[in-house]
């Protein structure tokens, strides 16, 4: 017997300026069902769910919850209809307690009591029932990411939600936390709750969902039963073609363009500095840095990009000592292009337009300014337009604020900004973090193209597969020390793992 339908979205359309984020998307959800909403970054998954939850207003279409039409643009109505949402970026107030965050908005504003005692009991019971251990009196600011997510889920359950929307819930979790989350979801489904699970991780979707709804470029491309499909087919639906790994021919190494000799930097908070690190970046070669986060990658990246001057040791650019003082401007002048680790914080200025962001580093050079003084915005816009076309940045145009772009499109713009300057050295720090398969493939192929053009590419990544796949030569970084260079195929994964854990041959300290 089919379960009753709890939720129906009917031809939902939403536009941001000229961008159609959702194009007539329809979708239904039954009681006790987990539906995965699958799609690349920027496919429109989060937008669709924000419309369902009333945070955006759809331009067209309507939503029915439990047989009743849901008024648009009203989170209160969505909550009252039994829809709860766990956002990708948590909506919690750090300075308030878990309890306060959960009861917020659940009682009439003018009632005299917060009813915290009863609320605490109910939260304890829910924690017990669903395996969501969290201290109700802790302050949210002191909780870890996994616990915060439990608070978000408790918020929805506390309001007796019957439908829970989870936006990329595992993106921030450790594998153990993700397993615990799945256990919680299974308990919820067993009690007849329904879940919409947004993800682009195929194995998770296969593990938890009954049905997959696949979005691409804001359009619904298909709905499939999980039992009748496989990850390869889903990936093909998501990206629109069979995923092609770039064919990687070995690089043609040339002279060393950048060399670190026994460079030391001070330790930073929570991250190691460099301890006598030596490294040579050769033209026409991708040099990979493998290691666990916090072992000196940030310091290495900062030294190469000029943000940090070595405390000891030498830095050489194409055989000559690096200019003093060593600053980001000096690094740029030496032809070092930078793809920063955090594209939001260090790569772009959110409220600036694409054109403005494109010329942040080159603003004082022709043709973007006249004698380094008067900005020439026409040239900047034309340059941004060229990057948008060449690097397939999906956006309404160069005058769009960059915060409106999805992560993948933002990264493509940064990639274009760096590579169009034809840098001699490309620093790529976590260049594909948070990107989907299509964007990852694209970024990788561009890095290889830069290498083949003769650039020296430094690839820093915490994803060992990525380093192994792309690097012509790699170093392992551990507690600020760099291993000697290891050529492609020169060490097994097991050996590399031992080195990443700090055992193995390292440069003399």
């Amino acid at each position: 017997m089919p379960s009753p339908e709890v939720l129906r979205l009917d031809r939902i359309t939403k536009r941001f300026g000229a961008l159609v984020a959702n194009d007539a998307i329809s979708l239904s959800l039954a009681a006790g069902e987990v539906v995965a909403l699958l799609g690349e970054n920027g496919a429109g998954k989060t937008t669709l769910m924000n419309i369902l939850f009333g945070q955006y207003v759809a331009d067209e279409g309507m939503i029915t919850a439990f047989g009743q039409p849901l008024p648009p643009g009203n989170p209160r109505a969505a909550l009252a209809a039994g829809i709860g949402m766990v956002h990708q970026h948590f909506t919690l107030a750090d300075h308030l307690s878990v309890l306060e965050n959960i009861v917020l908005g659940t009682r009439p504003l003018l009632s005299l009591s917060l009813g915290l005692g009863a609320a605490r009991d109910k939260i304890r019971a829910l924690s017990q029932d669903f395996g969501l251990a969290v201290d109700p009196d802790a302050r949210v600011g002191q909780l870890g990411v996994g616990q915060r997510q439990r608070v978000e889920i408790l918020k929805a359950l506390y309001r007796d939600a019957r439908v829970l929307i989870l936006d990329e819930p595992t993106a921030v979790l450790t594998p153990q936390e993700a397993d615990a989350l799945f256990a919680t979801l299974r308990r919820m489904v067993a009690r007849g709750l329904s879940v919409i699970f947004i993800s682009h991780k195929l194995h998770e979707v296969m593990a938890i969902a009954n049905r997959c709804v696949v979005l691409r470029h804001g359009k619904l491309v298909g709905t499939v039963e999980t039992a009748g499909t496989n990850p390869a087919d889903l990936a093909a639906m998501m990206v629109g073609a069979e995923v092609q790994r770039p064919a990687i021919a070995p690089g043609q190494p040339g002279p060393a363009l950048l060399r670190l000799r026994a460079v030391r930097t001070p330790d930073a908070e929570g991250a190691a500095g460099l301890k006598a690190a030596s490294l040579a970046l050769h033209a026409g070669q991708i040099t990979g840095i493998a290691g666990v986060s916090g072992n000196g990658q940030a310091a290495l990246s900062d030294v190469v990009s000029g943000l940090l001057a070595p405390r000891a040791g030498q830095l050489e650019i194409a055989g000559t000592p690096a200019p003093q003082p060593w600053t980001p401007a000096a690094a740029l002048a030496c032809g070092i292009g930078r793809i920063p680790e955090d594209r939001h914080k260090a790569g772009t200025i959110a409220d600036f337009t694409l054109a403005e962001n494109t010329v942040l580093e080159t603003r004082r050079m022709a043709p973007f300014s006249t004698r380094g003084f008067w900005m020439n915005w026409g040239a900047a816009r034309a340059h941004a337009q060229a990057i948008i076309a060449k690097y397939d940045v999906r956006c309404p145009g160069p005058e769009t604020p960059i915060r409106l772009l999805s992560g993948g499109n933002m990264q493509k713009l940064i990639l274009g900004r760096v590579l169009e300057g034809a840098p001699r050295v490309v620093l790529a720090n976590q260049p594909v973090r948070g990107l989907d398969i299509g964007a990852i493939t694209y970024v990788h192929s561009q890095l290889i193209a830069a290498r083949d053009r003769g650039a020296a590419v430094l690839l820093i990544s915490e994803d060992l597969d990525e380093v192994l796949q792309l690097s012509d030569v790699l170093h392992v970084i551990s507690e600020g020390r760099l291993s000697p260079p290891i050529p492609r195929g020169g060490a097994s994964v097991a050996e590399l793992g031992l080195m990443m854990a700090g055992e193995g041959v390292f440069d003399a300290a």
């Binding site: 941001f16 939850f53 945070q55 955006y56 207003v57 643009g73 989170p75 209160r76 969505a78 909550l79 009252a80 949402m85 956002h87 909506t91 919690l92 107030a93 750090d94 300075h95 308030l96 306060e100 965050n101 009861v103 917020l104 908005g105 659940t106 009682r107 009439p108 504003l109 003018l110 009632s111 005299l112 009591s113 917060l114 918020k155 915060r403 409106l404």
Partner: protein, 315 residues
């Protein structure tokens, strides 16, 4: 040193400190409510001037004293409504709007005063609030005359601090106000109206600022004259920071500042006053306040969304 000690043990000094603190408490609480909801209200100085004028003028025209307080409160709410409309739904710069409202409210009050009383040379007086000794408590030596022989409006100021504290920390409304000041997206996701809560907080808070101004005319100076607010609004902005956005601590800060102020007047009359220039004494409360502010505000938790407009549906 002896002179300072004698000042500190005199009941009249503490009575003066409590009196001077009262308008600051009203306005500081008003500002605190606005900021807790995430809106910096720099209109405070002008709204205090407006409250001082409207409260006084209402009583001058024949309303009872509490009627004057009500009129002042209403006039403050009106300017609060203007501030809230511009900064919350329209999301304009809170600095620009606030300073604009200070200029507008100040000028409007002065203009209205000149229009209403074109011919006067000395400001007309009204019968102000009289000291209201609290039965029994006012008979306690030292504390009686210092704390419990104040005007009704002073008791109201301290009572208001208690009420604001209770509402902020013990009611759903207070939790909602704090939440929109910390993370408006979180509040919206829980079905609360960020716009409504922020506007309400600014309007009510502005009302209290105006009552702070009205205290000056209705309970302290008995008449309205130009420059009578004299930067008290700006002091209150600092007191909110000093109080780490908590009503109790803010009251403490107001009393401390008032004590410095009452103390400097008395110090001027000692032998020190004969040696040192009087401007030094006038500057003393401000210097000490800056020192206290620096010490106290180090660990303060600023409302995380203070001065961050919230636009629904924006990425």
């Amino acid at each position: 040193m002896m002179a300072l000690w004698e000042i500190l043990i005199s009941a009249s000094f503490w009575a003066a400190a409590i009196r001077i603190a009262s308008p600051l408490i009203f306005a500081t609480l008003g500002e605190l409510i606005c900021e807790r909801a995430g809106v910096l209200n720099l209109g405070i100085e002008g709204i205090m001037v407006m409250g001082a004028f409207t409260g006084w003028f209402a009583v001058y025209l024949g309303l009872p004293l509490w009627g004057g307080v009500a009129v002042a409160f209403a006039s403050g709410m009106l300017f609060g409504l203007l501030h809230a409309t511009l900064t919350v739904p329209f999301g304009l710069s809170q600095h620009v709007v606030g300073l604009g409202i200070t200029l507008l409210a100040t000028a409007t009050a002065y203009f209205a005063y000149r229009l209403a009383l074109p011919q006067v040379t000395s400001p007309p007086r009204i019968d102000p609030f009289q000291p209201l000794p609290v039965p029994i408590l006012s008979d306690i030596p030292f504390f009686g005359p210092a704390l419990f022989t104040q005007t009704a409006l002073t008791y109201a100021a301290f009572g208001l601090a208690l009420v604001v504290g209770l509402v902020l920390y013990r009611t759903p409304l207070g939790l909602a106000v704090r939440a929109v000041g910390e993370n408006p997206a979180a509040a919206a996701a829980q079905g609360l109206s960020v716009t409504g809560l922020r506007m309400g907080a600014v309007i009510i808070g502005s009302g209290f600022m105006a009552v702070g101004g009205a205290f000056l005319t209705l309970s302290a100076f008995s008449s309205f004259f130009f420059d009578m607010v004299n930067g008290r609004g700006w002091i209150c902005i600092a007191l909110v920071v000093f109080g780490a956005w908590r009503p109790g601590k803010a009251v403490l800060g107001a009393v401390l500042f008032a004590a410095f102020d009452a103390g400097q007047v008395r110090l001027q009359q000692t032998e020190l006053g004969a040696v040192l220039p009087y401007q030094l004494f006038l500057a003393l409360p401000f210097i000490l306040s800056i020192v206290a502010l620096v010490i106290m505000s180090r660990r303060a938790e600023v409302p995380a969304a203070l001065m961050v407009p919230y636009n629904k549906g924006e990425r």
